[in-house]
Symmetry: C2
């Protein structure tokens, strides 16, 4: 198809390959709904008006919007490979994502990033990559890789790479610390994503001038407005843990809406399966009073503008035919999705098959020797111990002191006290480093849980009753080399989810992963006794992240985040 053909089709001198008839088209430039046909040739929208096609599809008065764009997502939180993620979100109307492959980069560095790009290629989803800027999260972390400025310089020109991912070390950036500034310079001229929760005033100005021009961490409307004034684009988040849509949409006005968009950041399999993706953000936003046309622009045109995506985010001549067909602008039930002019999903079902990329560079990533029970002993000088106390519905923890049972000078598990052992095992470089701690309120009575998802370095984290149970669970993961999540009791595996890609992702479809995850969570509660108020996998997943207050356990031991130093149990 030549440009001449497209011109002739637009002029009505030639039939279009495909015409969607009787559409209510959302115009994101003028925020209007226009009735008409959409003429498509090849991958391109050629015109909107009254057209005839070689093939015609009656849209029967439904709304046609541009395909949705997730402005900031860590695909890894879906526990799906990019190809499987596409199968899950494309039927929900998503045709592009701005992805920061921060998790897999912590495990497998450049190989991980390249895998994410390659694996998405067979799917009708544009995966635009922002290079992870904080790998490892902090200097003393034992991650599987380190992405320094030289790596950013190397990768920034890779096809599929847009810019630099969220600069999470915002105090460093606002201080002008050399390490992060070098990475920012390596991405000069590209979009640099921000992450600066609650930063304000001069510190925020310092952060902004260092480079970042987007923000997805706003909690209040005032915070959002201050950041908008500084020229930041604002992502309104609808993830699993963090969901600010309901609240923040109250601060969106016709004057500032063009600089806002939706994102999911981290969205877990069960939410993707149950509620969907950006379609869900739209539903929630409109239910909470946002103008539906502004909402559609926020899901499409605005992120395309922010990230400079060519020919994306509008239903107009010359734009790519990435379209979502929805019943109305309230429930946003997606009945059809077109990507590059092809029908790729209908009534929630993907009509495409994906071809997984070669994953040899990102599998078998558990590099550690089996552990022994003796490795897990916590010696105590008294009956008092430092204990991690989780906070409900948050990833924050409290640093508390509790009296515990001591036997032979070591901590002894007592189900009555509801304090169990939690341990982190370096699994990338066979250092044998193990950090030990105690966790209260988890509810676990028996058995153990071990998993290779432990933000951000994704070492193995395990919690359990007896040292035997913990060792058995961890060694299950070590034996398989692939990583995943395992529940054990009495020397037997109760449930297991294999996550062969970097110990983070499953090659299975969303439904299977979500069901397996449900099974594991149920077994954790029913068989191990884990307190129902916690999601055990998420709780463990964040316990090793030494940038979230107040206390964490890392491969090098217990870490007091407030004092920013290692401490004794």
């Amino acid at each position: 198809m030549t440009l001449k053909d497209k011109i002739d089709i637009a002029a009505g001198r030639k039939k279009a390959g495909l015409v969607l008839k009787n559409c209510k088209i959302v115009n994101v430039f003028t925020l209007e709904v226009i009735e008409g046909d959409v003429a498509i040739e090849g991958d391109t929208i050629v015109a909107v008006g009254a057209y005839e096609g070689e093939k015609e599809t009656d849209i029967a008065g439904q709304y046609v919007t541009p395909g949705f764009i997730d402005g900031h997502v860590h695909i890894e939180s879906s526990m799906l490979t990019p190809a499987r993620f596409a199968e899950a979100v494309v039927p929900r109307g998503t045709t592009a994502v701005i992805a920061d492959p921060h998790e897999i980069a912590n495990v497998r560095g450049e190989d991980g990033i390249r895998f994410m790009i390659e694996d998405s290629k067979s799917a009708p989803l544009d995966v635009h990559v922002m290079l992870p800027s904080c790998v490892p999260a902090v200097d003393f972390e034992e991650a599987g890789a380190c992405l320094d400025a030289a790596a950013i310089r190397r990768l920034i020109r890779l096809e599929g790479v847009l810019g630099l991912g969220e600069v999470m070390c915002y105090p460093d950036a606002a201080a002008g610390a050399a390490g992060v500034i070098e990475k920012i310079k390596a991405a000069e001229g590209r979009v640099i994503d921000g992450h600066a929760p609650r930063l304000t005033g001069k510190e925020l100005a310092a952060y902004v001038i260092s480079g970042p021009s987007t923000e997805h961490e706003c909690e209040t409307i005032e915070e959002m407005k201050e950041k908008l004034r500084l020229g930041m684009y604002i992502h309104i988040r609808n993830g699993t843990v963090s969901r600010e849509v309901k609240h923040l949409v109250k601060g969106i006005t016709p004057e500032n809406t063009r600089r806002t968009m939706f994102c999911t950041d981290d969205r877990h399999p069960l939410d993707l399966l149950k509620d969907g993706h950006i379609d869900h953000a739209l539903r929630v936003a409109v239910a909470h009073g946002l103008d539906p046309l502004q909402a559609v622009a926020m899901a499409t045109h605005n992120p395309a503008t922010c990230y400079g995506l060519k020919r994306a985010g509008a239903v107009a001549p010359g734009y790519r035919a990435d379209l979502a067909v929805v019943d109305d602008l309230k429930d946003f039930r997606v009945s059809r999705v077109y990507k590059n002019g092809k029908l790729v999903a209908e009534n929630g079902k993907a009509l495409f098959e994906t071809k997984p990329a070669d994953s040899r560079g990102v599998t078998r990533t558990v590099h550690m020797d089996p552990i022994a029970e003796d490795d897990l002993k916590i010696r105590l000088r008294s009956g008092e111990a430092r204990v991690i106390s989780p906070v409900t519905d948050s990833i924050v923890t409290r640093n508390v002191t509790r009296s515990v049972t001591v036997k032979d000078g070591c901590f002894a598990f007592d189900p009555q006290k509801d304090i169990c052992k939690v341990a982190v095992f370096e699994r990338h470089r066979r250092t044998g480093h193990i950090g030990l701690g105690l966790l209260e309120g988890f509810g676990l009575k028996d058995g153990a849980i071990a998993q290779t998802i432990a933000h951000d370095s994704h070492n193995i984290i395990a919690a359990g009753g007896s040292d035997r149970d913990i060792a058995f669970a961890v060694n299950e993961l070590v034996k398989g080399k692939q990583g995943g999540i395992v529940l054990t009791r009495g020397g037997a595996v109760v449930k297991k989810i294999e996550l062969p890609v970097a110990g983070l992702l499953s090659p299975l479809p969303l439904r299977e992963v979500a069901e397996a995850l449900s099974d594991v969570e149920r077994a954790a509660r029913e068989t191990l006794g884990v307190n129902a108020k916690y999601n055990p996998l998420m709780l463990l997943g964040f316990l090793a992240l030494p940038v979230i207050p107040e206390i964490r356990v890392t491969t090098r031991g217990l870490f007091d985040v407030t004092a920013f130093q290692f401490i004794e149990v």
Copy 2:
């Protein structure tokens, strides 16, 4: 100044080089006015808030806006070189223009374009060039140059070149004609400006998909809205001949304003001197009901977004310190202008000096031999002749038949009948081609006017009473080789303006050029008798342009634009 320095200044750990104190800052992202200081270091706005500087300037509660941007201008219409144009418009608050050097390109092709870029370099004005896409205007035109697709491919990567200038041959583009499509392809990935007056429906869709994404020719709000819906950015024009601001601002809404901006297109010296530049567009727009903050965004942020100008169009951290200080948001009287952090104008006076570029490649552009009186004879078979009849306040003409005085088988000038001779002389390649015609209503009683400004090819056009007067005037320009405008009577020069650069531009400052122009216009009326209802120079300037209805005179003779063919007098 390093990035670290800027970060330290923003954080308040270090003083800024310059702080503008007590400003009312127009925030173009949120359309708010924020009170505070603007901290500047080097060429960059570092922060907005409460800051201290090595140097501090009290703005005393005036408004600080981003520097104004003219979204589409032919600098040549100012009859000034780019350096002199900058001296004229920078004190009016303009710090960047999107310039299409279409006129000089018709005379001197690539050399002309390069001169416009070079000559602007010493001035504190960003001149972003769109490559002229229609040189010559039509195939049969005898211009001084031809810019084909190969030339576009060569020039598109030149520093200072942004994209492709207005695609004026809109019927060709909408038809997919090979010539224009090749040029469009040569500019792939860049912004392509449009020019498609009154085009609508499928023809417009065909035009848009061919490439153009902006439009400055809208006459009605409906036309503007249709074009906005197709994704075009709309320039609201405030030129000399075409001024749609008053009318079109009524169609601008909070929903569509982000895709609109101001331009001047063609603005003549007297208007620049008397009323100003984009500051005048702002005054007119606000006087006609446009929200002042939307208006400022249209003059700054919106064109910066449309044309992808980096770090331009906002007062926020990291943006270039291009600023206009205005008394209020009604009269927009500009009291100070900053460019790249330096005060470059104050109270209407430029505080900078420009250094003209080497103009040897664009001067002495009159390449023709002296003409003889006999070259000008119009033979007539009867007392009836085809006559060009101008329309007041328009560049359109009517094709009429009139009875004229015939002597020796040739047209004879009779001041009583108010029909004089008009002639166009090929002046680029010494072909000797002369086209002759008759013009009614011009009022000229005696003498002649000749000029090297004759859109678009800028051959010499002359109108006069006796053949002797016409030949004398034309030969004055031929003798000097430089071109310009000359008024003669009785074998003597009455008034003359030298335009040595391409026969189009003066190296003198605006005031001198405007005054000389006033003198010439007055002399044309008072000494030659030209009808006061016409601007004689503008009327002659458009009489040779064979794309404006109904009848024109070209180097190859009289042209019937409606029938699109040459005709006899």
